[in-house]
Amino acid sequence: METQGGSRRLTRREFLRLGGGGALALLIGGVTGMRALGASRTGPTLRPLAVEPLANLPAPPPVYIRLAATDGFIQLPGRARPLYMFGFIQVPFDAPISALDIYKGNVQAPAPIIGVDEGADVYLTLTNLGLAMRPDLDDSHTVHWHGFPNQTAVFDGVPEASISVPVGRDFPYFFRPRRAGTFMYHCHFEDVEHVQMGMTGIVFVRPAQNQGIGGIPPGKYAYNDGVPPGDPRSTAYDREFALLLNEIWTKAHDNLEAIQENIWPDYKPDYWVINGRAYPDTVRPNNDPDLPNQPISSLIQVNPGERVLLRFANLGYEQHAMQLTGIRMRVVGEDASFLRGPDGADLSYWTNTVYIGPGEARDVLFVAPPFDPDGPVYTDAVGRYNRYLLKNRNYYAQTNGGLPGLGGMVTEVRVYEGSPLPPQMIPNETYP
């Protein structure tokens, strides 16, 4: 397929070689120490979290990420015409900007999932490639790491409070994350427009505890929980899935494409998406060739008994009620905050419906139930499975453009017979 604006569509091989396809996993190690576990009480008074310097600890290796801002088109079920989007796409870190023309007009929706280790130096360069479909519109862009604690203004990505990046230029953002959990990132330039147009992604921080500290074995943990994996308060998990929630007001996108103004308080979305796809596209695999600009799957494939971490973030403008029918969930983190009080009180809670406001994040654990051969059984290329729907309980968000049938902000948890799935290598990994 040729893209609008004359730029060349990448082959899938080129795409993967450049690291732009699917979930981006920045797997890094090397942390051998850790800070206090988030206790924040000194005597009767409180003090802020995360004020201890990391200088005495071996730093994880630095991380280099480069995101290009541009435009392009995605596909929505039940809509004949592709939908115009803005967005971020990962590009080679050291390439000259002149070599990045092939990405112009090749937007990815949503932006790559970024995972980094607590304490790592994160170099994130934003390159503004301009808009293939709107050469008249020379908007600047920024990257705002939403929720980053104790941020410095110049790296906060607010154009009115620091700078923004013009077309054809780079800007080097720097982050040293000191707090584990699920965050999000987005452009803050004319944010009501650029966020709705798709310049959104999930970024999460892996806790130092993953390297094994203080008698706690190395592993995958949502937070520095300080307890062994068998403890009921543990945040250990086997598989993780980043689920970015957005609504899409297609009229605004069509207006942008047609060089028309929008009245943003008139906001009236007609599609609801997880990771940029509406059901049933949400359960297609990563890098599905039919969805070349929406590479991130929301399909949750698990073996019975596995512990699963869902990293929810909402960059829409509506609140969402994500319900998992048939499996109870335990909310262990909100807004990159481990749900534990200053005295150690366990503030996590059990629920079937996770309520998430705009700009909020939730870290949610569940244990996959046993495979039930007597329940409804479905079959895919991996094998036989039971299906559990993860859906927005607000029914209007279960539609695609008002058309009949199930759609929208819905995905599936598939619990397989036996344990056919290998260990997860990247977030949101799909099989086969």
Binding site: V51, P159, A345, G357, P358, E360
Partner: protein, 415 residues
């Protein structure tokens, strides 16, 4: 698409900074002089209020008809005065009605409200047009509370008949509750009251035309009666005569010895919809909801932190806020580990910026000729806004609406 900041807004912001320049933050012990930023208390425990009409201004130059509670000896104002009382006070509120329909006040979170005078209404005793009513209650529990009309609230609260009561604990005025963990810096107490406005609804009420409360479509959102960027201006700026309360949050970096105490932030949502309220800069510690300290059944501290707090319609929250200069970047010895591009390779949106030109706290740098900077001494600014971004607008214009600014001064303040 780039929309310029209207000229009147630019001049407003400039005036804001000129007024603030060099003035120390007043302390709460000086009650006679209202502070330029932070909570402006009206002290009781007896308050004489009137329900009346007036107009507010939006940053894009529009004027909106409002109803509000004002002091009987003061001008029209939105929102109503902040009523500050001490725990255990017997609070008396005398309400006089200058509207052409009955009006009343309800006090969510207060128990045992008694009344005298007035006429019976559905929720409480009302003041008839031209008449008055007296409400009396004992402020038993410290915290942040709304007061609002209990008569046709779908019209009267939407029109602006709301305000906030602050009950200070018996432990002292620099505590939010009777718990040592709630101690805050009394120079840094901020109240942010959220509200939403459909100007066509207000126009219909003004003109006596029919309206449908279910068809409200908000176009403006206010904090303390002002939309951004007016919300970031000082208290009592002369160009907003009937919107006296600013919402700028101003702090200095946390220091365990010289600046250990947090700012206290009080949220109250007087509007009809829930608002996901998001500060840049740092998480907030949520210590209380609806005037009750967050404690478990065994007294354990169940406070928590988040970076977006959805404040539901009618809710209040009390939160502690610190900002810590964790990396301590400085041009002399600890520079940021990247090369900031030259000015010709950066954009300063609409030629107006809160940026100092330097990445370093307390330092100023170069800005392009023609760019207006509101920065005084290298302080940092961060927006504090609704993340329902359709509310982060003034009608169709972005970077407005339900927002204010966080200002982080260098240690010791601007010198």
């Amino acid at each position: 698409m780039s929309l310029p900041i209207p000229r009147n807004v630019r001049s407003s912001l400039l005036a804001l900074l000129l007024i603030t320049l060099g003035l120390p933050i007043s302390t709460s012990t000086v009650r006679a002089v209202p502070p330029l930023i932070g909570v402006v208390c009206t002290y009781g425990p007896t308050f004489n209020l009137r329900a009346t009409t007036g107009y507010i201004y939006t940053p894009d130059g529009n004027r909106i008809f409002m109803w509000s509670f004002a002091r009987s000896d003061g001008p029209f104002q939105v929102p109503g005065p902040v009523l500050c009382v001490n725990q255990g006070d017997t609070v008396i509120i005398n309400l006089t009605n200058e509207l052409s329909e009955p009006v009343s006040i309800v006090f969510p979170g207060q128990d045992g409200v008694a009344f005298s005078g007035g006429t019976p209404g559905l929720l409480t005793q009302e003041a008839p047009p031209g008449g008055s009513v007296r409400y009396t209650f004992v402020a038993r529990e410290p915290g942040t509370y709304l007061y609002e009309s209990g008569t046709n609230p779908h019209r009267q609260v939407q029109m602006g008949l709301y305000g906030v009561i602050i009950v200070r604990p018996s432990m002292g005025p620099d505590y939010a509750y009777n718990d040592p963990s709630t101690r805050f810096d009394p120079r840094r107490e901020y109240l942010l009251v959220l509200h939403d406005i459909d100007p066509y609804f207000h126009a219909a009420v003004e003109q006596g035309l029919p309206y449908d409360p279910g068809a409200i479509e908000d176009r403006y959102w206010t904090i303390n009666g002002r939309s951004f960027p007016d919300s970031a201006a000082d208290n009592f700026v002369p160009w907003l005569p009937e919107q006296p309360y600013g919402a700028l949050v101003r702090v200095e970096p946390y220091d365990p010895t010289t600046n250990p105490l947090p700012a206290l932030i009080r949220y109250a949502n007087a509007g009809m919809v829930n608002h996901p309220f998001h500060p840049h800069g740092n998480h907030l510690r949520v210590i209380a909801r609806d005037g009750r300290l967050l404690r478990g059944p065994n007294g354990e501290d169940t406070s928590f932190e988040d970076f977006t707090r959805t404040v539901a319609s009618g809710q209040t929250y009390d939160l502690l806020f610190w900002w810590t200069d964790v990396e301590a970047w400085s041009s002399t010895g600890n520079p940021v580990p990247v090369q900031i591009p030259g000015l010709q390779n950066l954009v300063f949106k609409d030629g107006v910026t809160f940026y100092s030109g330097s990445p370093y706290l307390g330092e100023k740098g170069e800005l392009p000729v023609g760019v207006v900077s509101y920065n005084q001494c290298g302080e940092f600014y961060f927006p504090w806004h609704s993340h329902a971004l359709n509310e982060f607008t003034n009608f169709d214009e972005g970077f407005g609406g339900l927002a204010t600014l966080l200002r982080v001064d260098p240690p010791g303040g601007c010198r």
